[in-house]
Symmetry: C2
Subunit: 410 residues, 2 copies
Amino acid sequence: MDIRSSFESLDKKFTSFGGLNGGGITRLLYSDEWSNAVHELKHTLEKEGFEASFDSVGNLKGRIEGSKYPEETIMSGSHIDTVVEGGHLDGQFGVLAALVAMQSLKAEHGQPLRSLEVLALAEEEGSRFPYAFWGSKNFFNLAKSEDVNDIADGEGINFKAAMNNAGFDYRNEDNDYSYIKSFIEVHIEQGKVLETEQKAIGVVNGIVGQKRYTINLKGEANHAGTTPMGLRRDAVVAFSKIATELTDKARTIGDPLVITFGRVDPVPNTVNVVPGEVTFSIDCRHINQEALNDFAKTIDDCIRTVSEQEGVEYDINLWMDEAPTMMDESLVKVVEQAAEQVVGSNDSKMMPSGAGHDSQIFAKYIPTAMLFVPSINGVSHNVTEETNIEDLVKGIEVLKQVLYQLAYEE
Amino acid sequence: MDIRSSFESLDKKFTSFGGLNGGGITRLLYSDEWSNAVHELKHTLEKEGFEASFDSVGNLKGRIEGSKYPEETIMSGSHIDTVVEGGHLDGQFGVLAALVAMQSLKAEHGQPLRSLEVLALAEEEGSRFPYAFWGSKNFFNLAKSEDVNDIADGEGINFKAAMNNAGFDYRNEDNDYSYIKSFIEVHIEQGKVLETEQKAIGVVNGIVGQKRYTINLKGEANHAGTTPMGLRRDAVVAFSKIATELTDKARTIGDPLVITFGRVDPVPNTVNVVPGEVTFSIDCRHINQEALNDFAKTIDDCIRTVSEQEGVEYDINLWMDEAPTMMDESLVKVVEQAAEQVVGSNDSKMMPSGAGHDSQIFAKYIPTAMLFVPSINGVSHNVTEETNIEDLVKGIEVLKQVLYQLAYEE
């Protein structure tokens, strides 16, 4: 079978579920578009000889039984939901890549020694309801009904009502994941490192830890004309010094440290008043926990020092503090070797993932690895999200090689 | 007569027109509160022996004829309107100070050699309609009916309808101001320079020129996790560098240069996206035109250089460019000497006004001077606007001394 044409026809079919006129997909958890997609995927899996089944919340597995070690299962997949006006590759590519790679292996090599499973996770994006990773958190029995019982979507539809309406419900017993030996997720990079460095494959060594802060600086609002510079307590000037200093320091430390001041809300935010207050965000990520913690100290020190210099009061609220997740070392090596075989060592790159993925949940319980394909101009969460078909095919071929090694070799 | 008690009783009376429960005044142009205030002021002037008259738009003059040089008139006053929820001193104090000073002179010294006039300008704040300086711009035949014909207040009431309803109308002939020899305006400082330096009187040598800009920086919005620092075109980082550098430079140059970044609007303004765009304001003021122009060049250079460094595109829109207005040198000397006599040279300070005032219009046509009294904590345009009564009295006494010299001495 031809990997490219198989993928293209599957991608075309599944992009139609929630597909938008200008390209891209809106396919929110438990929506009609989502239901149509997962039921069609179950049908496709069955037609292709997979044994397909949903768990209670709607995670879909398709299984090819192994001949020699059926109790050892090699799993690959990603999430099937999208953000609002998302692209056709974020999540969906990982599901279809797994399906195509396993189809191709079966066509070429017949039944594997170990079992193979495709996984389509119900939800990862947190785009319909204010809860993310619903799929993988149910997979590992982490999600609780209390977490979502009282939440509703933008139209006021309750989580449970939406779930029941789609034919699914809370877990009534724990999911068994002990039979899974390895999990491999293929995903688009959603950044432009691979494109910039002209690499075809990213071998992901880990998913960055991140800290997110809301900082409030309080100075004094004053008349912009009658208040000399020396009598000001200007919150925006204090913010600017903090953002400039921390950016300089982060640049000096270098990759993979990133810091972002995405939100800035001065008060009163008008041309002729010295801004007496500003609330701003910091998003800081690093693959190494110690390096991340060190920079968090730098952040605290900088805010304190600048606030003292500028005569403003500060409040630092660290409201997200997620540890980095390392991928399984030996599995990463398998992916790295497969990438070398398929695209050559010059065309692949070992890199951290700066974004969160289902694999960060899996890696806590199961040896897990990820591989990236390039994103054109780094665009994702957007209908123009795209990857060259040649790169998509290379991604599937690397995955196929990884699965071959894990499921077909002794 | 006692200056303090005269002022206090007038201030109490006029603060009741638009007076608010928590203190302060809302007295917008041509409102009922405004009408009641100006008609009561006319009545008060007449009762005190002034010859009182409105011009067509509602500027109110009260005149004491001079005995020897009646055609030479010394005028003092300010505006009678307030901002929404303004204080009881901004504008009103200048009108009442003129009235009390002239009453006191008349009581002590009888008829002046030159004529004296109190002036209550109809409007300065631009708070009801989007047009400021309506009073002084009519006084000097600058305002045109076309400027306001199509404008309305927040409730949709047309400017002309409001004016007619209050009993006033557009000028049907030019106002004659040639008979005025000098204009003196007393005003609260609206800043805290005098308070900080423990001075009772500010002798205003000029009103600062100001340039106001809207700057747009366009970089590229990117994922905050997947975009390394080196691949970013972060508009907020560029803004922060510009604000930091220009603030440093302005501090080095020193008073009376001020620069304010009052408004900052990043796009999309969310925690986990590298901000691809920011729109911000610059308000820059200086009393010296050359120094202001020099700093405007510094602003341009800094924005260009930082934008190039940070890979963002910039657009600079200079939408206000007002020249500094110098007060009349010999009149400033008269005020300075009067302040020295009343409070001593240690308790007065020569200073620019960082805010705009009616005097900036007057100074273009008539020898003009201003004097400031301190504002407690620099607060103005707020119901808590206040000045110690001792300082208000000192301001009236300095004005009285100035008017004595100008109207009673040969």
